[in-house]
């Protein structure tokens, strides 16, 4: 699949923003343990809103006909893309309600809105993963690992951003302890990513399955077009194997290992966050670049 930068940035940025929102909300409940003042909380919410909104705006760059984007909220009964969009739009009024309840002091309302926001954020991450995970035409995506990755990596990058936000606290609050949630999720993320690399489905369909000639060798004699088509442009992306291997290592080191070391040994949480997000961008680029659509079988590829 063509790795579209607008979509890659959207999934990483919105994912991190939603993860940060989840952990900010949960941290705000743990006043005794995590001493987060209101200003820092609002700064964190502003950062999360910035990341989510930038991602959503970026996702519309992918559309060839943006003026009809409003209709995307209508297909939620069957379409994961529509569900994702609808829930993302619902996030804003709910967040506004929660902040208003906090500001005007309604302690009976805030727990409800808080847990609704947490559930909604995770649901959005899940829907984003299912946009790709539900496609039977891309066997490499069509597994439970895809939504699991989107949810876990979103929560993981958010949990690395949380101590970075907490480092904005006034000095008299004192130093930040070891961010155990970030460390735990980075390890879990690394395990999931390695599982994905080893276990995701591949070579599930052959050119024989595509044409129904089950025996013998089938090969493309002529694709019927002299230059590129929409299909070759959208689905024909090929990544050199050594380049893919290099990028995979960059993703593993930047998205998981370096942030883990930074979180364990140092207090450089902003650096950890930026390196983690950069690594996730590489991981997401690979996710698209390495995915193979079954239509490639009709263009002569032997296995997908």
């Amino acid at each position: 699949m063509k790795p579209a930068l607008s979509v890659i940035f959207f999934t990483v940025s919105s994912g991190a923003g939603l993860g940060l929102l989840v952990w900010l909300l949960i941290a705000s409940l743990m006043g005794n343990h995590i001493r987060m003042d209101a200003t820092t909380f609002y700064k964190g919410v502003a950062l999360a809103a910035l990341l989510i909104t930038a991602g959503l705006i970026s996702s519309t760059m992918h559309l060839a006909n943006r003026k009809n984007a409003i209709y995307a909220l209508s297909g939620f009964k069957t379409s994961w893309l529509s569900r994702e969009g609808l829930l993302a739009v619902l996030l804003y009024p709910l967040a506004a309600l929660h902040l208003a309840a906090l500001h005007f002091g309604y302690p009976q309302v805030t727990p409800i809105t808080l847990w609704l926001l947490v559930a909604l954020s995770i649901a959005i991450l899940f829907c984003t993963g299912m946009i790709y995970g539900c496609l039977r035409t891309v066997p490499r995506w069509n597994s439970w690992l895809t939504p699991a990755k989107y949810v876990l990596f979103g929560l993981m990058s958010g949990s690395v951003l949380l101590p970075a936000v907490l480092s904005l606290r006034p000095l008299e609050v004192g130093p930040i302890g070891k961010p155990m949630m970030a460390i735990f999720l980075l390890v879990a993320g690394l395990i999931l990513y390695l599982t994905y690399l080893l276990k995701h489905p591949r070579n599930t369909h052959s050119i024989n399955d595509a044409l129904g000639f089950k025996q013998g060798n089938v090969r493309l004699l002529d694709a019927g077009h002299s230059h590129g088509t929409f299909l070759t442009n959208e689905f024909g992306f090929v990544l050199a194997r050594d380049k893919a291997r290099l990028l995979r290592w960059i993703a593993i080191v930047c998205a998981f290992v370096v942030p883990l070391l930074f979180c364990w040994f140092t207090k450089a949480f902003w650096s950890a966050s930026i390196i983690c997000l950069a690594g996730l961008l590489v991981e997401r680029w690979l996710f698209f670049a390495e995915a193979e659509h079954v239509v490639r079988l009709y263009h002569g590829q032997q296995r997908v």
């Binding site: 060839a64 009809n68 984007a69 209709y71 496609l135 035409t137 129904g212 025996q215």
Partner: protein, 249 residues
């Protein structure tokens, strides 16, 4: 009704006339619009609803017309055997996943005849339906930013101003080899149903569960020609052979 095409892989000669006729009819039509980009330039490309691909099947014992005289060792493929031309357009699938993934509701499958269409006034050009199509049937119109696909010439087949024989998709009318047939698969007596039953359908990624309506009729099995003469050994045959030998003495 379940309208669709039956495409004969045996008789298709791969001339691309169906694709050209499709382009001609849909290029400017109300439902269609299949633009070309850089048509007279160095790298011409464009939006097509129908593309013909050519494949070579090597060593399939079912279809090898060269079996006669070929020494076939077990496990070894027989020599180069068959070329098939595969014109591919929308299959108007029964389980059209391209329709269910569409977030805007622009893609729809008509209840009355099963034709899958795109409403350009709702499509936002997200390409998601093209991702969900295993057969490469959907292509973006880059000028208008909306998804385009085979309409089964919905603007021809119901047009009562046309003579009845011409109320068929343009590709079917154009095919010089009569490899394309159009009809209703819900009617077991229709030409396409009869052909699909008699000849058998090629299974094309059936495990994905899209249930394509269009049928690709399997090539007929070639008649085996042996080099040995049939020798009959009944009593009358022996008598006849004896008489023949006597005459030739």
């Amino acid at each position: 009704m379940k309208l669709g095409l039956a495409i004969d892989l045996d008789t298709c000669v791969g001339c691309h006339a169906c694709a050209v006729a499709c382009k001609e009819w849909n290029g400017e039509s109300l439902m269609g619009g299949a633009p070309d980009y850089d048509a007279w330039g160095k790298a011409p490309t464009g939006t097509w609803y129908n593309r013909i691909r050519h494949f070579e099947i090597e060593g399939d014992p079912t279809y090898s017309p060269h079996r006669c005289g070929a020494t076939s060792e077990t496990g070894k493929h027989e020599p180069l055997s068959k070329t098939v031309n595969v014109p591919m357009s929308c299959m108007h699938c029964e389980e059209a996943h391209c329709v269910t993934v569409c977030p805007t509701g622009a893609s729809y499958k008509r209840a009355e005849d099963g034709i899958v269409l795109v409403d350009p006034s709702r499509c936002m050009g997200c390409n998601y339906c093209a991702w969900a199509c295993p057969y490469g049937a959907r292509e973006l119109d880059e000028n208008k930013g909306v998804m385009k696909k085979c309409t089964l010439c919905v603007d021809r087949i119901y047009d009562e101003q046309l003579p009845e024989a011409e109320r068929q998709p343009a590709c079917v009318l154009a095919c010089p080899a009569h490899a394309r047939h159009f009809g209703d698969y819900d009617d077991p007596k229709s030409k396409v149903s009869v052909l699909a039953t008699a000849r058998g359908r090629q299974s094309m990624l059936d495990d994905l569960g899209y249930k394509p309506t269009n049928a690709y009729l399997s090539p007929r099995k070639p008649v085996e020609i042996t080099t040995e003469l049939p020798i009959k050994s009944g009593l009358t045959d022996k008598a006849r052979a004896f008489v023949n030998r006597l005459i030739q003495l």
